[in-house]
C-alpha cells in the first residue's frame, strides 16, 4: 500500500518546494497546491469500500530494527476518516487561503508551512509505530508554530506561537515518556503489538503513569482544560490557518490519539473518570468562556475548546454508542467549524473588524456569507436537520446511559453538564449567526460590506451544504466513514444505526429543552452577558503560564550567568570537573579499576625522550607569558605525540594528528588578531586551589584509565575481535579503523561531520555578525 508513505512524502516535498513554485507562478501557487490534497482526497476516498469491509492497508520498511522502530504506516477506518478530513478540508482551506492572503504576503512561505503541516498530520493519523507517530506529532507542533507565528512582526503572533509550541511541545515530551514506558513494559512500539498486549499493559503497575502521560499529550494538543490556554492565542494566525488547525487538523490530532489509544489504555475506571471528566468540564468551561468573548475568532476558539471537550468526553465513556458519536462528531465538527472560521475570515476581510459589538445586520450586503455561516452555526447549535443535531442526540443518549450505569448519584452530573454546555453552545451559535447577520445594532460601517469573490465564499458554502447533507442523510456518512472508524476503535462493528429521526425519546426531549432554553436565554442576552461578565475570581491559567515562562527565563539566566563567565579557563574547569565526576562514578560502578594484569613493556630511551619533550611543552605553558611562545610550546607537545604514534606504528593517527597540529597552529595564528591581549590575572587562592585540584585529578584519572585499559586482557575484547574478523567479510575493507569509522559506526561519523559543519557555520556567523556590528 504505497499511497500512505507517498501521501506524506509528496506533501512534504510540495511544502519544501512551495517557495520555489511561488517564484514562478506567483500567487497562483495556493490554488495549484490545492490540487495535491484534492488528488490525495480522491485516492483515499477510493479506498472507502475496502476499508468499510474491514480491510486495513499496511506499508512498512525497517528503520531501527533493534528497537522495533519501523517506517510503518497503516490505514484502518479511523485513519481513513482523519485522512479524508485532513485532505478534504485541506483542499478547501488552501483554495480559500489563496484568495485570503493579500498580494503582498509571502504566499510561498505560507503554503510551504501549510503543506509541511499537512504532511505531518497525515503522518500522525497513518503511522503504525508509536515512535513514528511521535515524530510526526512533534512535526505538527513545530509546523503549527510557524503557521501561528506567520505574521511574525506582531508581538501577539509571536506570543501565541510560542505558547502553542511550549504547551503542545510539553505534551509531546510526555508522549515520548509514555511510549518509552510502553516499550519497557511490552518490548515493542508497534501499534498492532501494543494493541495485542493491551491486557498486560492495563494490568501493569505503570499503567496509571502511561495513561496520564498519553492523556497529557492528547489534552495539550486538543486544548482540554486546563491546557486550553494556547488555543485562543493561536487565533493570531491568519484565518485560513485557524480554519484548518482548529477544525480538521492540529486539535484533532489529540482526539485521534485518544481514540487510537482507547482500545489499548481505555475501559478502566481511571480512564472513564479522567477522559470523561476532563472532557465534560472542558465542554462547559469552553462554552461559558465563549460567551464572554466579543472577538468573533475568540468565540470560535473557545467554541472549539468546548466541542473538543464533548468529543473527548464521549471517548472517555467508551461505549459503542459513545465512540460512534465521538467519531461522527469529529467529522461534523470539522465540517461546520471550518465553515464558521472561513465565514468569520470573510467578515473580517470585508469589514475590517471582528468585534461583535461593532457588527450587526450584515445579511443585507452579504447574503451568501450569511447562508454559509447560518448553516454552520445551526449545525453547531444542534438544530435539526443538521449534522450537529444527529451527533448531539447520540451524545445525550450516551450521557443518559452513562448516568444510569453509574454507581452513585454523581452519575447524574453527566447529562446535567452535557445539557448545560449545549445550552450555552446554542446561545453563542445564535450570536455567530442571528446577531451578526440579522440583529440591528452596532454602529454603521462606512459602506455596506458585500460578499467576496468565489475564492473566499465557495469553500464555506460547500462545507455548510455538507453540514446539512450529513444531517439529512446521516446513514450515508455513517456507512462510508463513521461506522468503519468507530469499528476500528471498538475492534468490531458498533451495531449502531445513524438516523435523523429516532422517534420521541429522552434525547429528543433534552434537545428540545436545549433549544427552548437557548432561545429564552438568547432573548435575554444582555442580562445573560451581564451575569457572565459579573462572575468574578475565575482561575486564570494564563497567569500561571506567564509566571512559569518568566520564572524559567529568570532562573535559566541565573544559571547561565553563573556558568558562562566569558573566560575559556572557567569553561575548561567545568568540563574537567564533569569529566572527573564521570570517571570516578564510572570506576565506582564497576568496582574500581583493576591493575592486576598490568604487563608493561620496558621504556626505551627514545620513548622517554619523547615523553619528556611532551611534558616540557605542557609545563612551559604554565610560565610562558606571551601568546606566540605558548603556541609554539603547545605545538611541541602535539608533535611529540605524533612521534609517539609513529613509534607505536599507528600511521593513521600520526598522519591525522600531524595535519591537525599544523592546521591548528596556522588557525591560532590567524585567530591572533581577533584575540584580546594577554593580561595578568590574579586568581584568588580558593579558586586557584580548586583549579589545581581539578587539573591534578583529571590527569590522574586519565592515567588510571589508560593503565586500566592496558590491564584489560586484549584477547578478551569482544568488540575488537568482532571488528577484526568481520571488517573484510561484511564491509570489504582491510583498514579496520576506517571501516569502523565509515561503516560499522557510520552513524557516529554522520553525527560528527554534522557537528563539524555546524561549527563551520557558527564561525561564519559569528565573524560576519561581528563585522556587521562594527560597521554600524
Amino acid at each position: 500500500m504505497n499511497l500512505l508513505p507517498v501521501a506524506v512524502i509528496v506533501c512534504l516535498l510540495a511544502g519544501l518546494t512551495a517557495p520555489l513554485f511561488y517564484r514562478f507562478v506567483g500567487s497562483r501557487v495556493g490554488r495549484l497546491l490545492a490540487l495535491l490534497p484534492l488528488i490525495l482526497f480522491i485516492s483515499f476516498f477510493r479506498l472507502v469500500p475496502e476499508v468499510a469491509r474491514g480491510q486495513a492497508f499496511q506499508w512498512s520498511r525497517p528503520w531501527i530494527p533493534v528497537l522495533g522502530v519501523e517506517f510503518s504506516f497503516s490505514l484502518d477506518g479511523l485513519s481513513l476518516l482523519f485522512a479524508l478530513l485532513i485532505t478534504g478540508i485541506g483542499t478547501l482551506v488552501l483554495y480559500y487561503g489563496a484568495s485570503y492572503l493579500g498580494p503582498k504576503e509571502d504566499h510561498g512561505k505560507f503554503f510551504a508551512y501549510m503543506m509541511i503541516f499537512m504532511a505531518a498530520m497525515l503522518g500522525v493519523v497513518t503511522a503504525n509505530n508509536l515512535v513514528l507517530l511521535f515524530l510526526f506529532w512533534e512535526m505538527t507542533s513545530f509546523s503549527s508554530f510557524l503557521l501561528i507565528g506567520f505574521w511574525h512582526d506582531r508581538d501577539a503572533s509571536r506570543y501565541g506561537a510560542l505558547k502553542a509550541l511550549l504547551v503542545t511541545g510539553m505534551g509531546g515530551l510526555c508522549m515520548m515518556a509514555g511510549l518509552i514506558f510502553v516499550f519497557v513494559v511490552l518490548g515493542s512500539v508497534d501499534l498492532r503489538e501494543v494493541l495485542a498486549g493491551s491486557d498486560a499493559l492495563r494490568a501493569h503497575g505503570a499503567y496509571p503513569a502511561i495513561l496520564v502521560l498519553f492523556l497529557l499529550a492528547a489534552f495539550t494538543k486538543s486544548a482540554q482544560a486546563p491546557f486550553h490556554l494556547w488555543l485562543p492565542n493561536a487565533m493570531e494566525a491568519p484565518t485560513p490557518v485557524s480554519a484548518y488547525l482548529h477544525s480538521a487538523a492540529m486539535v484533532k490530532a489529540g482526539i485521534y490519539l485518544v481514540a487510537r489509544m482507547s482500545p489499548v489504555l481505555g475501559g478502566t475506571a481511571l480512564w472513564t473518570a479522567l477522559v470523561g471528566g476532563v472532557g465534560i468540564i472542558t465542554l462547559v468551561l469552553g462554552s461559558y468562556l465563549a460567551l464572554r468573548q466579543t472577538d468573533l475568532k475568540a468565540i470560535l476558539a473557545f467554541s472549539t475548546v468546548s466541542q473538543l471537550g464533548l468529543i473527548i468526553a464521549l471517548l472517555g465513556w467508551g461505549t459503542p454508542l459513545a465512540v460512534t458519536a465521538a467519531v461522527f462528531h469529529t467529522l461534523n465538527h470539522s465540517v461546520f467549524k471550518a465553515a464558521l472560521f472561513m465565514g468569520v475570515g470573510i467578515v473580517d476581510h470585508q469589514t475590517g473588524t471582528r468585534d461583535i459589538e461593532r457588527l450587526g445586520g450584515l445579511a443585507k450586503g452579504m447574503p451568501l456569507t450569511a447562508l454559509a455561516m447560518g448553516l454552520a452555526a445551526l449545525a453547531l447549535a444542534g438544530v435539526p436537520p443538521f449534522n450537529g443535531f444527529v451527533s448531539k442526540e447520540m451524545f445525550f443518549e450516551a450521557a443518559l446511559r452513562q448516568s444510569e450505569a453509574a454507581a452513585s448519584t454523581f452519575g447524574l452530573l453527566w447529562p446535567v453538564l452535557a445539557v448545560l454546555g449545549s445550552v450555552l453552545t446554542f446561545v453563542y451559535s445564535l450570536i455567530l449567526s442571528h446577531r451578526l447577520f440579522f440583529a440591528k445594532g452596532g454602529p454603521e460601517l462606512k459602506e455596506t460590506p458585500t460578499d467576496p469573490g468565489p475564492g473566499l465564499i465557495a469553500p464555506p458554502i460547500v462545507l455548510g451544504g455538507l453540514a446539512l447533507l450529513f444531517g439529512l442523510a446521516p446513514g450515508m456518512a455513517g456507512r462510508t466513514v463513521v461506522l468503519p472508524g468507530a469499528a476500528a476503535v471498538l475492534g468490531g462493528d458498533p451495531g449502531i444505526h445513524l438516523a435523523l429521526w429516532h422517534g420521541i425519546n429522552a434525547p429528543l426531549l433534552l434537545s428540545s429543552a436545549v433549544i427552548a432554553g437557548g432561545l429564552i436565554l438568547y432573548r435575554q442576552l444582555p442580562v445573560l452577558l451581564r451575569i457572565v461578565h459579573g462572575v468574578p475570581g475565575r482561575i486564570n491559567v494564563n497567569a500561571v503560564y506567564d509566571w512559569a515562562v518568566d520564572a524559567l527565563v529568570i532562573y535559566s539566566e541565573r544559571v547561565t550567568q553563573r556558568m558562562m563567565t566569558g573566560f575559556t579557563r572557567d569553561y575548561f574547569a567545568w568540563f574537567q570537573w564533569f569529566f572527573l565526576g564521570i570517571i570516578i562514578l564510572g570506576a565506582a560502578a564497576v568496582g574500581g579499576i583493576s591493575l592486576n594484569n598490568l604487563d608493561l613493556a620496558p621504556v626505551t630511551w627514545y620513548e622517554g625522550l619523547l615523553a619528556l619533550t611532551a611534558l616540557a611543552g605542557g609545563l612551559a605553558l604554565l610560565w610562558l607569558r606571551t601568546r606566540m611562545a605558548a603556541i609554539v610550546a603547545l605545538g611541541m607537545t602535539g608533535f611529540a605525540l605524533v612521534a609517539f604514534f609513529v613509534v607505536f606504528r599507528a600511521p593513521d593517527l600520526a598522519m591525522t594528528l600531524l595535519i591537525v597540529e599544523s592546521a591548528t597552529v596556522i588557525l591560532v595564528l590567524l585567530a591572533f588578531i581577533h584575540l584580546p591581549r594577554l593580561r595578568e590575572e590574579v586568581t584568588r587562592p580558593p579558586a586557584a586551589r580548586a583549579n589545581a585540584l581539578v587539573s591534578i585529578g583529571s590527569g590522574l584519572a586519565v592515567t588510571m584509565l589508560m593503565l586500566g585499559a592496558l590491564a584489560f586482557p586484549a584477547g578478551e575484547s569482544v568488540l575488537a575481535r568482532y571488528f577484526l574478523q568481520n571488517s573484510r567479510e561484511l564491509a570489504g575493507g582491510y583498514n579496520v579503523v576506517n571501516v569502523i569509522l565509515v561503516d560499522f559506526r557510520g552513524f557516529d561519523t554522520m553525527g560528527e561531520i554534522t557537528v563539524l559543519g555546524l561549527a563551520a557555520m557558527g564561525v561564519y556567523m559569528l565573524l560576519n555578525l561581528r563585522a556587521r556590528k562594527r560597521q554600524q
Binding site: I659, I673, Y734, N735, N738, G746, F747, Y764
Partner: protein, 160 residues
C-alpha cells in the same frame, strides 16, 4: 609574506598535496587514509597557498562557497544512508563488490566510499570556511598594524 621561494614551492606542492589527498581518500578502505585525513590534507594544501600568496589567490583556486561544500558533503553522506532505506534495508547499510579495472587492477567498489567522500567534503569545507572567514574579516587589514604592536609588546615582555 612575499617569499619567492615559498611561492614557487607552494605552486608545485599544491598539486602534489592534492594528489596525495586523493590517494588517501581512495586508499582509505584498505590502507591508512580515509576521508577525514584526505580532507585535512587538501585543506592544508590550500592553507599553504594562503600563506605563500594571499586570500584572493586562494579564492581563485577554490572558487566555490566553502559552506556549500559542507552542505554537499552532509547531503552526500546522508544520501548514502537513505539509499538503502529505499531498497528496504536499514539506514546506512553498506554494499560492496569487487571489480577489475584495467591498469589499476582489482579493487573493491563500496558504497561507503561515497560516505567517505561526504566526510571529505565536510572537512575541506569546514576548514576552508574557518580560514576564509578568519582571514577575510574586513577589519583584518586595519588590525594588522595593531597586531604587530601586540607582537612587539609581547616580545618586550618576553625579554624582561
Amino acid at each position: 609574506m612575499n617569499s619567492i621561494i615559498l611561492q614557487t614551492v607552494a605552486r608545485v606542492a599544491l598539486y602534489v598535496l592534492l594528489i596525495l589527498a586523493a590517494f588517501l581518500l581512495f586508499a582509505g578502505h584498505n590502507a591508512p587514509g580515509g576521508g577525514f585525513i584526505a580532507g585535512l590534507l587538501a585543506a592544508a594544501a590550500f592553507i599553504l597557498q594562503m600563506l605563500a600568496f594571499d586570500l584572493e589567490y586562494v579564492a581563485k583556486l577554490f572558487p566555490v562557497n566553502p559552506l556549500g561544500v559542507v552542505a554537499t558533503g552532509l547531503i552526500l553522506a546522508a544520501g548514502v544512508g537513505f539509499v538503502p532505506m529505499l531498497l528496504g534495508y536499514p539506514f546506512l547499510t553498506s554494499a560492496f563488490t569487487t571489480i577489475t579495472v584495467p591498469i589499476i587492477g582489482r579493487g573493491e567498489l563500496t558504497s561507503v566510499f561515497f560516505f567517505d567522500l561526504g566526510v571529505f567534503f565536510v572537512v575541506v569545507g569546514a576548514m576552508m570556511t574557518v580560514i576564509k572567514e578568519m582571514a577575510s574579516d574586513n577589519s583584518y587589514h586595519s588590525r594588522v598594524d595593531e597586531m604587530r604592536e601586540v607582537v612587539k609588546e609581547d616580545s618586550e615582555l618576553w625579554k624582561r
